[in-house]
């Protein structure tokens, strides 16, 4: 037990990378996802179908595979990046597919009647987007979006496969040294849980509140 206590700081150093990895990928994926969602909902048929298929492809790849592809693929294309950068790219790509679906659902949930009402008071297409659709879509997407962040936080552990020194990787390395998996795993479980559980409570409360207000929360 004493042995383990000295290793705790080493494991916890991984939190920093976990947070960077998760937050950066998530925000990038949000931007990409929003972009794809808007294109999909507001473009003419051929373009929106293409984007729809793109999101389907992105959602069809396991994260582990995406990370491995980026990790091995980039050097082949002549690009040398630190592991964490490859991980960020991999997570961003896969998550943007899910976020596009999330935002698309939220936008469609706002509904055509809102658009009609917006036009009827004289708003232009762009005005309708900005003042009527977007604010409502954001609200509706909030619970799902927060939930998505907890997913990214947990999935960041898969970056272990390409040697990123995030929380899980550190735990495994320590476990291999002290020949005990239990303590490191319990420690990181506590850390992950204390990040994810509060977020999920907030997300649930938000969802309930929105539903009570009559919003089609995704």
């Amino acid at each position: 037990m004493n042995d383990f206590l000295t290793y705790i700081p080493i494991i916890l150093m991984g939190v920093w990378n976990t947070l960077i990895l998760s937050t950066v990928s998530f925000l990038l994926a949000t931007l990409l996802g929003l972009l794809m969602a808007f294109i999909e909902v507001f473009s003419p048929k051929p373009v929106s179908t293409i984007v729809d298929w793109v999101t389907r492809v992105l959602r069809g790849i396991p994260l582990l595979l995406a990370l491995l592809l980026v990790f091995y693929g980039l050097p082949r294309a002549g690009v040398a990046l630190p592991n964490i950068a490859s991980a960020i790219i991999g997570i961003t790509i896969v998550d943007s597919g899910y976020q596009a679906q999330l935002f698309r659902g939220a936008i469609e949930g706002v509904g055509g009647r809102q658009l009609e009402a917006a036009y009827s008071i004289g708003l232009s297409k762009w005005g309708a987007f900005r003042y009527v659709i977007v604010p409502q879509a954001f609200r509706a997407a909030l619970p799902g979006w927060l939930n998505e962040f907890t997913i990214v936080l947990k999935d960041s552990s898969i970056a272990y496969a390409i040697g990123v020194t995030e929380l899980f990787t550190q735990a495994v390395h320590v476990a291999q040294v002290i020949l005990d998996y239990l303590q490191p795993l319990i420690l990181v479980s506590i850390v992950y849980f204390s990040m994810c559980y509060p977020l999920s409570i907030v997300s649930e409360r938000a969802r309930r509140k929105l539903l009570a207000m009559g919003v089609a929360a995704v």
């Binding site: 492809v57 491995l68 899980f168 476990a175 479980s189």
Partner: protein, 227 residues
Amino acid sequence: MSFDKLLDLVNSYGSLLLNGLLTSFYLTVSSYLIGFTLGVLISIARTYGPRLVKALCQAFVELTRGTPMLVQLFLIYYVLPRVGLTLDPLPAAIIAIGLNSAAYQSEYLRASMSSISYSQWEAALSIGLTKLQAVREVILPQSIRIAIPTLANELIYLFKYSSIAYFITVSELIYISKFIGSRTFLYVEVYSIIAVIYIAFSIAATEVFKFIERKIAIPGLRISTRL
């Protein structure tokens, strides 16, 4: 990356890849079934069970959903031996992924159970069904119907996530691919091939489920798709 190299790969290692794919399928379906069965039990326990059972189930679900699947996988494979339960990689993966899926499936079912209006429950009791019968004959059939889109998604999701069994040396598709890659150094080529396999499966499975959903929908009752 040339087309010839790809073809070569498929020729020489096709059967190996097929084995990996079959292992992945087996892994996915087994864990899904465990997840579904346990999920149903947990959702019923959490909605209708005594307080202690409810609390234990809730603890299980929250802890499982609040920690990475990888952590749970490693706990089952590397830590259980300490209490005398040593498992081979594949069974360990099936159990770990199955338990994880159970936590999520129980939540989907619980949500759909609570969306069924209380009056269905009242009506069931009013003709003399016991609570157990009411759950089995009236609440559960409707809950599962409502939860089907989400449960179908879960299966497709599991197919992708079962790949984490890679980390404990299960010979599923990605693990096999890495092996092939280490032999031929054509990592990107192999990974690209299986990426296509995964994508094709996901898209095909989604379409199949949409079709099934339409077929078994209760006539007249429109079910909203995303929970």
